[in-house]
C-alpha cells in the first residue's frame, strides 16, 4: 500500500493521542485513588460500589442503634437492681416485724421505714435516662407512678404493645424498654361509685323536739323529709343516733318503694356521721335540724362522688404479675329493672358464685342496682376485686380479669344480657385485647345519615369477612338519636352474627367509635358486585368488567368462557384478579350463597367494560359509611392487651401498703402473708433482670456481628473501588516510556525526505 507523508503524520498523531489518553486516565486514578471515575468506566463495578456503600451506611446505623439500645437497657438494669435491693431490705424489716417480741412502737418504726422505702420504689419506677422515662412505654415524657403509688401516666393508659423497637439488622428488631407493668404489676379491682356526705366534726350530741328534728334531703329529684324521734342524745350516743337515723330514713316522707334507707344509708366512721348513697343527694335548706352543730355538715351541702376500689392481693400467690387483661361482656339491651330477689350465677376461676339481690329495682334505678351489686361482689372473697359491673354506652357491661361465664338461666337477661347462648351454655366474657379507633365525631353539631346502598360495614375477623347491615337511620344534630344510640344499633347488628356476638364490641371512647375484639381484626371496604347473574354462562359478550382500586386506574378483568356455579364464579374472579399485578393480594372475593362480595383495604369501584354485559351498572364500596363513622381508611386493630390505666393501683406497692397497715395494726397473719408475697415479687424482679441480661447479651452478639460485617464490607468496597497503587504507578511509567519512544522515533522519521538529497 502506498503510504504518504500525511498518512504517517496522522497515524503518529493518532497513536500519540491514544497514549496520552491512557496516561491521563492513569494519572487521574492515582490522584483520586479510585479505579473508576464515571459509571461508564465500569458499570458493574459502579453498581457494586453503590450497593456496598449503602450497606456500610446501614451497618453504621445498626451499630448506633445497638449501642443506644444497650445504654437504655443498662439503665433499666440498674433501676431494677435498685428495686431488688430495696425489696430485700423490706424483707429484712418484715422478718423483724413478724417476730412477736417487738413492741408496738418498734413495729411502728419498722412500718415507717417501709413506707419510706415505698417512696424509693416509686422513684425507681420513675427513672429517667436522657430525659425519657424508662418504664412508661411510648409515653416517655410521662411519669409512671404517682406519689401515692398508683399509675400516673398523666391520665393515659399504658398498653402491652408499647415497646419501642429499634432496627439492629434487616428485619431484626429489638424492643428497648421494659414496661412498668412488668415490674409493678397491676391489681384487679372492683370499683363502684358512691356519693358520700361526711361530717367534718365528731357527733356532738343533741336534744330533739318538733322544732329541730326535721332533716330534708333531696334525692333523685324528690325532697324527702326525715323526722328524728324527739329524744336526747349525748356525744357518746353516736351509734344510737345513727341507728335511729337509719330508721327515720326508712320512714321518710314521701314514702318510696323501696324504702329510702335502701338507697341512702347512714353510718358512723371515726366518730363522724357519714351518709352514703348510689346517687347524688344533698341536704336542703329547709332542714330544721342543726346539721352543722350536730354532725358537722352544712345545709345545701352536696354528697361528694367517690370511687370505691376493692382489690384482691391473693392473686400474687398464684403468681399473676401481668397487667390486668380485661374480659368484657356487654349487654345488648337496656336495663329493664329486676324482679324481687333476682339471683345471678357467675362461673369465675374454678368456682361458681351466686348473688341474690335484696329487693326489686325499677328500670330507672340502674345506678342503685350497680351500687348494690358491686357492693355484694366486693363482699365475696374470690370475686372481690376480680369482677365488676359497669355501664358502657347506656348498657351494662361485666368486666373481669379472667374468663368468666354467666349462667344463662339466672336472671341476667333482666340486666339486658342476651340469653341465647354463645358457644355452649352460658354467656362468656371475651378478652378485649385488640382495638380499632376511628376519628372523633361531633354528634352535637353534625349529623350522620345511613342509607342504602351505603349501609354496610365490613369486618375481617379471623379468616372470614362479615358484612354488617346497618339500618337506615339518622343520628346526631337535629335527630332524636344520640351517639349512644348509634353505638347500640351497631352493636346489636354485630350481635346478630353468631360468630361475632360476645367477641366484637363497640363502644364510644373520647368522642370516637372504638371496636374491641379478642383477636386481631380489620375494618375493610367491601361491596356486593351487582352481576347480572351469580352463576353465569360466560360468552364473548359478557366476559369482562372494569375494577378500580383506590385511586388507581380501572383495570379490565377478563374471565374464561364457560358455565359457572356461584363458587366457581367466585374462584374464577379471584384468580383473574390475582393475575393482575396491581391488584394481587389486595382484593378478596367471597360469596355468601346468594351474593358475591369484594373486600379490600382501599375503596373499590366496579364498572361495566365496553360492550360486556357481565355487570349492569357502576357500584362502589361503602367508603361513605366508613367516613361518616370516623374511619377514613381501612383500619387494622391494634393490640392493647395487658394495659394499665392511669389511677389504677400497682400490685407491688399494694402489697407494701397492706404490709404497713398490718404492721401498724399488728395483724400477724397479714404480716406473714406479706412475706411470701414479697418473695414472689423479688422472684419476679429477678426474672425481669434476667430478661434484660439476655437482651444485653443478644445486643453484644449483634454488635460483634455488625463489626465483622462492617469490616468485610469496607474491604469489599476497597477492593472494588480503590486503585492498586503499585499497579497504577507501573502502568503510568510504562505509558510514559512508550510516549517518549513514539515521539522520538516519529520526529526522526518524519523529517526525512528526498528533497534533502536532490541537488
Amino acid at each position: 500500500m502506498r503510504v504518504t507523508n500525511n498518512m504517517m503524520v496522522n497515524n503518529l498523531l493518532r497513536n500519540l493521542y491514544k497514549n496520552y489518553t491512557k496516561m491521563d486516565k492513569s494519572q487521574q486514578m492515582l490522584s483520586s485513588q479510585r479505579k473508576f471515575l464515571r459509571p461508564s468506566d465500569d458499570p458493574i463495578g459502579v453498581t457494586r460500589s453503590l450497593r456496598l456503600t449503602t450497606e456500610i451506611v446501614n451497618m453504621q446505623q445498626y451499630k448506633r442503634n445497638t449501642q443506644d439500645c444497650d445504654s437504655w437497657l443498662q439503665s433499666s438494669e440498674q433501676a431494677v437492681n435498685n428495686a431488688i435491693s430495696v425489696m430485700q431490705r423490706i424483707r429484712e424489716l418484715t422478718v423483724q416485724g413478724s417476730t412477736g417480741t417487738y413492741s408496738e412502737q418498734d413495729r411502728k418504726k419498722i412500718a415507717d421505714e417501709i413506707a419510706e422505702l415505698k417512696n424509693e420504689l416509686i422513684s425507681v419506677g420513675n427513672t429517667t435516662y436522657a430525659g425519657s422515662y424508662l418504664f412508661s412505654g411510648f409515653k416517655t415524657d410521662k411519669a409512671l407512678l404517682n406519689a401515692d403509688g398508683t399509675y400516673d401516666l398523666d391520665g393515659g393508659i399504658l398498653s402491652g404493645g408499647e415497646i419501642i423497637e429499634v432496627n439492629v439488622g434487616v428485619n431484626d428488631r429489638i424492643g428497648m424498654n421494659i414496661l412498668g407493668q412488668r415490674i409493678f404489676g397491676s391489681m384487679s379491682t372492683t370499683t363502684y361509685e358512691e356519693y358520700v356526705l361526711k361530717g367534718i366534726s365528731e357527733f356532738k350530741g343533741v336534744s330533739f323536739d318538733s322544732s329541730n328534728n326535721k332533716l330534708v334531703i333531696s334525692y333523685n329529684g324528690t325532697q324527702y323529709t326525715i323526722t328524728m324521734p324527739e329524744e336526747k342524745y349525748t356525744s357518746i350516743d353516736g351509734l344510737r343516733f345513727v341507728q335511729d337515723l337509719n330508721d327515720a330514713i326508712a320512714s321518710a316522707s314521701p314514702a318510696t318503694t323501696p324504702a329510702l334507707n335502701q338507697l341512702i344509708k347512714a353510718s358512723l366512721e371515726d366518730g363522724k356521721v357519714v351518709l352514703k348513697g348510689p346517687r347524688g343527694f344533698n341536704i336542703e335548706n329547709s332542714t330544721t335540724m342543726d346539721v352543722k352543730d350536730i354532725m358537722g355538715m352544712e345545709k345545701d351541702q352536696n354528697a361528694v362522688l367517690t370511687k370505691v376500689t376493692v382489690s384482691d392481693l391473693d392473686d400474687i400467690d398464684q403468681g399473676v404479675f401481668n397487667g390486668s387483661t380485661t374480659y368484657l361482656l356487654k349487654a345488648s339491651d337496656d336495663f329493664a329493672g329486676t324482679t324481687a330477689a333476682a339471683n345471678f350465677t357467675i362461673y369465675y376461676g374454678d368456682n361458681t358464685y351466686t348473688i341474690t339481690m335484696d329487693r326489686e329495682y325499677k328500670s330507672t334505678e340502674d345506678k342503685e342496682f350497680i351500687y348494690d351489686f358491686n357492693k355484694k361482689l366486693a363482699e365475696i372473697p374470690g370475686l372481690a376485686g376480680h369482677v365488676s359491673l359497669s355501664v358502657k354506652d347506656g348498657q351494662f357491661a361485666i368486666t373481669a380479669d379472667k374468663q368468666f361465664k354467666l349462667e344463662a338461666t339466672s336472671d341476667f337477661d333482666q340486666l339486658g344480657f342476651d340469653n341465647s347462648s354463645v358457644n355452649g351454655s352460658g354467656l362468656k366474657g371475651a378478652k378485649a385485647a385488640y382495638a380499632a379507633e376511628g376519628g372523633k365525631l361531633d354528634l352535637f353539631n353534625d349529623k350522620i345519615s345511613i342509607s342504602a346502598p351505603e349501609n354496610q360495614l365490613y369486618i375481617k375477623y379471623g379468616d372470614k369477612i362479615y358484612s354488617i347491615n346497618l339500618s337506615e337511620e339518622e343520628y346526631g344534630y337535629g335527630t332524636t338519636k344520640t351517639f349512644n344510640d348509634l353505638i347500640k344499633d351497631i352493636q346489636s347488628k354485630i350481635n346478630s352474627i353468631p360468630e361475632l356476638k360476645g367477641y366484637v364490641n363497640v363502644t364510644e371512647e373520647n368522642g370516637s367509635i372504638r371496636f374491641y375484639a379478642d383477636q386481631a381484626f380489620e375494618l375493610v371496604y367491601g361491596m356486593k358486585g351487582n352481576f347480572a347473574s351469580v352463576s353465569p354462562t360466560i360468552t364473548t359478550t359478557n366476559d369482562r368488567f372494569d375494577i378500580k382500586l383506590g385511586d388507581g386506574s380501572p383495570i379490565t378483568i377478563k374471565l374464561p368462557q364457560g358455565s359457572y356455579s356461584i363458587d366457581d364464579f367466585t374462584q374464577a374472579l379471584q384468580s383473574a384478579i390475582d393475575s393482575e399485578l396491581a391488584l394481587r393480594g389486595k382484593i378478596i372475593v367471597s360469596n355468601d350463597g346468594t351474593n358475591i362480595s369484594f373486600y379490600s383495604q382501599l375503596p373499590i369501584t366496579l364498572s361495566p367494560a365496553n360492550g360486556s354485559g357481565l355487570i349492569t351498572s357502576d357500584s362502589s364500596s361503602s367508603s361513605k359509611l366508613m367516613d361518616s363513622i370516623g374511619f377514613n381508611t381501612a383500619k387494622e386493630s391494634v393490640y392493647i392487651g395487658d394495659r394499665v390505666e392511669s389511677g389504677s393501683a400497682t400490685q407491688l406497692l399494694g402489697v407494701i401498703d397492706q404490709l404497713v397497715k398490718d404492721l401498724n395494726s399488728n395483724n400477724s397473719e397479714g404480716i406473714s402473708k406479706a412475706l411470701s408475697r414479697i418473695d414472689a415479687h423479688i422472684a419476679n424482679l429477678n426474672a425481669v433482670r434476667a430478661e434484660i441480661g439476655v437482651k444485653t447479651n443478644r445486643l453484644e452478639l449483634t454488635l460483634n456481628r455488625i463489626e465483622d460485617d462492617n469490616i468485610n464490607l469496607k474491604g469489599l468496597l476497597s477492593k472494588n473501588e480503590d486503585v492498586d497503587m503499585a499497579e497504577a504507578i507501573m502502568n503510568l511509567q510504562m505509558q510514559q516510556n512508550v510516549y517518549n519512544a513514539a515521539l522520538s522515533v516519529g520526529a526522526k522519521i518524519i523529517s526525512l525526505s528526498l528533497v534533502d538529497f536532490i541537488n
Binding site: M1, R2, V3, T4, N5, N6, M7, N10, N11, R14, R38, P39, S40, D41, D42, P43, V46, T47, S49, L50, R51, T53, T54, V57, Q61, R64, N65, D68, A130, S132, S136, G137, F138, K139, T140, D141, K142, G156, S159, G161, E162, I164, E165, V166, N167, V170, N171, R173, M176, E437, G439, L581, T633, V638, I640, E721, S753, L754, V755, I758
Partner: protein, 491 residues
C-alpha cells in the same frame, strides 16, 4: 513523405508535455497539505500519426489530453457511509458523559447518599420520637433529598434545551452546506462543459460532502446524461437535498412536547422540509440523529434511552417515593395528636402531578417538624410505630411499579442503565473512529501526495524536457544544414 518542419513539432510537443507535467507536479507539491486534495496526474498519449506512407507510419509526438485526479470514488462513498456513525456515536458519548457528571455517582454528594441520610435520620428519630432536634434532622434530610432530585431534574432539562439549540444549529449548517454544494455543482458543470476535469473544484466539493456526511446520513449518486455531463444528487431519507444546481432546505417547527416543554425546556424543534412543513425529515444516522435520540429518546419500546428517559425515571422516583411515604404518613398521628397529613407535597392534591421538579417536602411540615406523624393511635411521646413503617420502605422491594427493588435499587438501576449506555456509546464511538481512520488512510494512500514520489517525477520530467530540448537543438542543426547547406555545391 514527411513535412519539413514536422519533426520540430514532434520535439515541441515533447517540450510542452514535459512542461505541463512539471506544472502539475509543482501544483501537487504546493497542495501537499491541502485538506481533501487529491494528487493530479497528467495524461499523455501519442498524437495521431499521419496516414499515407506505406513504408511506415511515423508518429507526430505526444499530446497531453487530460489532467486527472487520482481518487477512488468507492472509498469516498465508504467514507461517507462510515462518517455518520462517527457523528452519531460521538454526540451520544459526549451527552451521556455529561449526564454522568450530572448524577455524579459514585460520590458523597449523589442521590444515593441523600437517600441513605434520610433513612438514617428517620432511624435516629425512631429511637427518640419526642426529640425536636431529631425531628428537624428528618425534615432537613428530606428537604435535601427533594432538592437534589430537583437539581438533577433541572440540569437534565437544561441539557435538553442545549441539545435542542444544537439541533437547530446543525440544521442551519446542513442548509449552508447544501447551498455551497449546489453552487460548486454549477461551477463544476460550467467548467466541464469543454470535456476537461475541474479537479480542484471536485476536491472542494468532496470536502463539503465529507462535512455533510458526518452531520446526517446522505446518499450520494451521480448520473451522466448522453453528453457525458455529470449530475450530482444528494438525498436524505429519500428526499432530495441537492440536485445538481438546485437545493432544498430544511426547517424546524417548534412544538410543545408534553413532559419536557412544560417542565421548562421550552419548545422542541421538529425538523421538516421547508415548504413541506408536514413532511418530517427521515433521519437515520449522523450527528443529527445522535442529537435527536438524546433529546427525544424516552426509552419506550425500541426508542433510545435519551435524556427524557432519565428525566422520566426521576419523575417516577419522585412520584412513587412521595406517594408511598405519604400513604403511610397519613395513617399516623403527629406530635400534636392530630392525624398525619402529607409528608411530601402533592400539588393540586393530585398525586400524579408530582414530578422531579416539584418534588418537595410539604410546606407546613417543613415549617413545623412536629407535624411528622411518627406515632400510631396508642399515642405516647416515644411512639414510633408509624415511623417504623416508613423506615421499612427502605427494604420494600415492590415500592416502584416499573422496577422490582428498594429505593436504593431504583437508583442503582438508573445509574446502571446510564453506565451501560455511556460505555456502549464510548465503545461504538471508538470503533467507528477506528473504521473511518482506516478508510481515511486508504484514501490518503490513493490520493495523497508523496513528496518523494513527486520529487522522482520531477527529475523524470525535467530530464525528458532536457532531452526534448536537445532534440530541438539537433533538429535546428539539421534544418540549418538542410536550409543553408543543402545544394550548395560549387557555390
Amino acid at each position: 513523405m514527411r513535412t519539413t518542419f514536422g519533426s520540430l513539432n514532434t520535439a515541441n510537443s515533447g517540450l510542452f508535455a514535459s512542461r505541463k507535467a512539471l506544472d502539475v507536479i509543482s501544483h501537487n507539491i504546493a497542495n501537499a497539505e491541502t485538506e481533501g486534495y487529491s494528487r493530479q496526474v497528467v495524461k499523455q498519449r501519442a498524437s495521431t500519426p499521419i496516414w499515407g506512407d506505406p513504408r511506415g507510419i511515423i508518429g507526430t509526438g505526444v499530446e497531453t489530453y487530460n489532467i486527472v485526479r487520482i481518487r477512488n470514488e468507492f472509498l469516498d462513498k465508504k467514507y461517507w457511509t462510515q462518517n455518520r456513525a462517527v457523528g452519531q456515536w460521538g454526540i451520544k458519548q459526549q451527552s451521556l458523559e455529561s449526564l454522568e457528571s450530572i448524577f455524579n455517582e459514585p460520590s458523597d454528594t449523589g442521590l444515593r447518599q441523600v437517600i441513605d441520610e434520610f433513612f438514617v435520620a428517620l432511624d435516629e428519630l425512631a429511637k427518640k420520637t419526642g426529640d425536636s432536634t431529631r425531628r428537624i434532622a428528618v425534615v432537613e434530610t428530606a428537604n435535601t433529598l427533594a432538592k437534589t432530585v430537583n437539581r438533577h431534574g433541572n440540569e437534565i432539562i437544561s441539557a435538553i434545551r442545549e441539545v435542542n439549540e444544537e439541533v437547530k444549529s446543525k440544521v442551519d449548517e446542513i442548509n449552508s452546506l447544501a447551498f455551497q454544494i449546489a453552487a460548486i455543482n454549477k461551477q463544476i458543470f460550467n467548467m466541464e462543459l469543454g470535456d476537461s476535469q475541474a479537479n480542484d473544484l471536485r476536491d472542494q466539493r468532496n470536502v463539503l460532502i465529507d462535512k455533510l456526511s458526518k452531520i446526517i446520513d446522505i446518499s450520494v449518486s451521480t448520473t451522466k446524461d448522453k453528453n457525458n455531463n455529470e449530475y450530482l444528487n444528494i438525498k436524505i431519507g429519500g428526499i432530495t437535498l441537492v440536485d445538481h444546481t438546485n437545493y432544498s432546505e430544511m426547517a424546524y417547527v417548534e412544538e410543545d412536547v408534553p413532559g419536557i416543554s412544560d417542565l421548562g425546556a421550552g419548545k422542541m424543534a421538529k425538523i421538516v422540509w421547508k415548504g413541506l412543513e408536514s413532511q418530517e425529515v427521515k433521519i437515520q444516522s449522523g450527528e443529527l440523529k445522535g442529537l435527536l435520540d438524546v433529546r427525544d429518546g424516552n426509552g419506550v419500546g425500541l426508542n433510545y434511552r435519551g435524556l427524557p428517559y432519565y428525566l422520566e425515571k426521576l419523575n417516577e422516583f419522585a412520584r412513587e417515593f412521595s406517594n408511598k411515604v405519604n400513604e403511610i404518613h397519613r395513617k399516623g398521628i403527629d406530635f400534636n395528636g392530630k392525624a398525619g397529613g402529607n409528608f411530601f407535597d402533592v400539588p393540586d392534591g393530585n398525586p400524579d402531578n408530582i414530578n422531579c421538579l416539584n418534588f418537595a417536602v410539604y410546606g407546613a411540615l417543613l415549617a413545623d417538624a412536629n407535624l411528622i406523624a411518627a406515632s400510631s393511635d396508642m399515642g405516647g411521646e416515644s411512639n414510633n410505630e408509624n415511623l417504623k413503617n416508613i423506615i421499612e420502605l427502605k427494604n420494600k422491594t415492590d415500592m416502584f411499579s416499573s422496577t422490582k427493588g428498594t429505593p436504593d435499587d431504583f437508583v442503582k438501576a438508573l445509574l446502571s442503565s446510564l453506565a451501560v449506555d455511556a460505555e456502549h456509546a464510548k465503545r461504538m464511538s471508538i470503533n467507528s473512529q477506528v473504521l473511518i481512520a482506516d478508510t481515511e488512510n486508504r484514501r490518503m494512500s490513493v490520493s495523497g501526495v508523496l513528496l518523494d514520489e513527486e520529487m522522482g517525477n520531477m527529475v523524470k520530467f525535467s530530464e525528458a524536457y532536457n532531452a526534448s530540448a536537445r532534440m530541438v537543438t539537433i533538429l535546428d542543426a539539421i534544418l540549418d544544414t538542410t536550409i543553408n547547406k543543402l545544394g550548395l555545391v560549387g557555390r
